[in-house]
């Protein structure tokens, strides 16, 4: 059992939907993003996705691209991101942390070394956008072996023929990307998402969380009501871009979390 499994077991027992939030590590600097990260659980965040900046984020829209750029320009490295997690863990040993990003910085560090360091820092799961099931031997299987969840994206192009392959080595939860597109694009309608979530749930016992394009408490509620939870990233990162005070960003996050939890 990882912190992720515990978290979803708890939510299920309470009959609650999950609220997952994404922030970029080191955006615009470590101090600010760590302060924001530390405030997320109290704002109602159940699972934290911590973005690892990469120079070439091929699945991200302009907002998250710029966040990564700001972080890198501020000197963010994979080591500093892991240090942030370790620092967070000093005060919170329950909120699951999923590191999300692209493969090359991990590959460059060395998969085994990365997994050992991430486990030691207190990371619970990984989402690596450019590792489809066809490349499971790279990181997914070693991560599962190291006791870390490897969370996979399922998308509208993942048809029934392909779904079992996508679910095969997935653990923790399934992240359903509600649209074909990049982060920050328009949201899908809950009525379109519902049958897709049902289709995935028929094939797995894992919780199915839906993301991409959710910006408001209303949409968070609508989407969470047809799934096991909702993810918000771009809308939060946008406030960091606008240099809003951390307290204001956390108030916005609380609104989203309340929306999802009211579903």
């Amino acid at each position: 059992m990882t912190r992720i499994d515990d978290c979803f077991a708890r939510l299920r027992a309470q009959g609650r939907k999950a609220f997952v939030s994404y922030i970029m590590a080191g955006d615009p600097d470590v101090a600010t993003s760590l302060e924001l990260m530390k405030g997320l659980p109290a704002a109602g965040v159940d699972v934290i996705e911590l973005g690892m900046p990469f120079t070439d984020p091929m699945a991200d829209g302009p907002t998250i691209q710029l966040a990564g750029q700001r972080a890198l320009e501020g000197g963010q490295t994979l080591q500093k991101t892991l240090d942030m997690v370790a620092e967070f863990r000093k005060g919170d040993n329950t909120t699951p942390i999923v590191m999300m990003g692209y493969y090359n910085p991990i590959y460059s560090r060395g998969v085994e070394r990365f997994l050992a360091d991430a486990t030691a820092a207190g990371v619970d799961g990984l989402i690596v956008v450019d590792l489809p099931p066809e490349e499971d031997e790279e990181l997914c299987i070693p991560a599962n072996r190291a006791g870390m969840n490897f969370i996979r994206l399922a998308t509208p192009t993942t048809d029934d023929r392909r779904l079992p392959k996508v679910l095969q080595n997935t653990s923790g939860f399934v992240y359903y990307v509600s649209i074909t597109g990049i982060t920050g694009a328009a949201a899908a309608e809950a009525t379109d998402v519902a049958p897709e979530v049902a289709r995935i749930k028929a094939a797995t016992d894992l919780p199915v969380i839906v993301g991409f394009g959710i910006r408001s408490p209303e949409t968070a509620k609508a989407i969470a009501s047809v799934a096991d939870g909702a993810v918000v990233g771009t809308a939060i990162v946008k406030l960091v871009e606008e240099k809003r005070p951390v307290a204001e960003i956390l108030a916005f996050v609380k609104g989203l979390a309340d929306g999802a939890h009211s579903a």
């Binding site: 070439d56 699945a59 590959y107 460059s108 450019d130 066809e134 994206l153 399922a154 074909t180």
Partner: protein, 410 residues
């Protein structure tokens, strides 16, 4: 190198799209079903005579193939050593080798019922070729081009627009080829149902590196029979040389000779201001290390933390921090050698080709020619070098004028 490796170099990639450890399919889940469809369609086409009949007809009547294999006599005399042939792919319609591959991909796109074509471009040659073939077949065409390249390759931007393509300047990153490829991938992930991504080099997720190589291999296949025609039955080149951005013109020339042990193979990367710690170059094999970008594992210019570095070259077509995975494998197995040529050396070769052969080369093949100039004088007169003159220099005259201190703006 072990003899038993020969007869096997032409077998790659394996079913996972790997050349040794390189290549693969490192893409998001949204794209995965699309590249599997493409692979299936390409596998069908490969053994379909009607597909190749259509290609052959278009290559002959639309592109002007076969391109000549030309004995560069004055250059040979000037350098005083090896006998130098140029494979004249700069005479192709649209002025470079890029159209060889575009035709293949667009015919596939039509077979797959795709109506919207996207492409990335650096120098603009692949963009022009794609816009051209889309105009011919009445397909919608969108070309992503780094904002920096839009500026330095203005004539090609206008050409694409004349041909009906939409050119999208890309401002993310430093606004060069790698950033254009990122935005093309973002477009593809968004418009999966009707869109075909026409990649311009032997990079990207499997099956692109193999497919683009197969389409470009017409270059080396022609060289085989053309050289035999001019030098006698069975005569193979002793050395083949080509410039490398992503590596498609080079793979096209090299591939048919991979299993001929007597043929020395040399790829020429862009050395920019010099391959040193300042990293102001695009020599991924000479100055990079393995990593994963744009769907494949290959040699990349990157920092210690796995962040990708921007390349630097006088030639927009070589300004890419990666290289096709098959080259990475040929490099590691030792079957091919890779060297770097600086901007300055390339400019020298550019001028020499103009002066001695009456051929204005593109800056990309000028890099290959510069290496020919280095090695030819030391080689015997019966040593035959074939270099790939893969593009003409019309697009580059403004940039070259600037470097040589002329102002030719009107």
């Amino acid at each position: 190198m072990a003899d038993d490796l020969f007869n096997s170099f032409m077998n790659g990639p394996d079913e996972r799209g790997r050349f040794g450890d390189f290549g693969g399919r490192f893409v998001s889940e949204t794209l995965m079903p699309l590249i599997l469809d493409l692979e299936a369609e390409y596998e069908k086409a490969k053994t379909d005579d009607t597909f190749w009949a259509e290609m052959d007809w278009l290559w002959k009547h639309y592109v002007g193939r076969p391109s000549p294999l030309y004995f560069a006599e004055r250059l040979t005399d000037h350098l005083g050593g090896a006998k130098i042939y140029m494979k004249r792919d700069e005479l192709n319609h649209t002025g470079a080798h890029k159209i060889n591959n575009v035709l293949g991909q667009i015919i596939l796109a039509r077979r797959m019922g795709k109506t919207r074509i996207i492409a990335e471009t650096g120098a603009g040659q692949h963009g022009v070729a794609t816009a051209t073939v889309c105009a011919k077949f009445g397909l919608k065409c969108i070309v992503y081009m780094g904002a920096h390249d839009v500026e330095r390759q203005a004539p090609n931007v206008f050409r694409m627009r004349l041909l009906g393509a939409e050119v999208v300047p890309v401002t993310s990153g430093r606004g060069t080829l790698k950033d254009a490829m990122n935005d093309a991938l973002r477009d593809w992930v968004t418009n999966v149902r009707d869109t075909f991504y026409c990649i311009g080099t032997v990079a990207g997720p499997h099956p692109y590196p193999a497919m683009v190589r197969d389409f470009q291999s017409i270059i080396g296949k022609e060289v085989r029979w053309q050289l035999a025609e001019q030098e006698g039955e069975g005569r193979l080149p002793d050395t083949v040389i080509a410039a490398i951005g992503g590596g498609s013109n080079a793979m096209g020339l090299f591939f048919p000779f991979l299993d001929d042990p007597s043929v020395r193979i040399i790829g020429v990367e862009a050395g920019g201001k010099g391959v040193d710690e300042k990293m102001e170059h695009c020599a991924s094999l000479t100055g990079g290390r393995p990593g994963v970008l744009h769907g494949n594992r290959t040699y990349l210019l990157q920092d210690d933390d796995g962040q990708i570095l921007e390349g630097f070259s006088i030639s927009a077509g070589l300004d890419y921090p990666g290289i096709g995975p098959e080259h990475a494998w040929l490099h590691e197995t030792g079957r091919a050698e890779y060297v770097a040529i600086t901007d300055k050396e390339a400019l020298g070769a550019f001028q020499l080709s103009c002066a001695l052969e009456g051929i204005i080369p593109a800056l990309e093949p000028s890099h290959a020619l510069a290496h020919v100039m280095k090695i030819a004088p030391e080689l015997p007169r019966d040593h035959i070098i074939v270099m790939n003159m893969c593009g003409r220099g019309d697009k580059d005259i403004f940039a070259v004028a600037k470097h040589l201190g002329f102002d030719i703006r009107t």
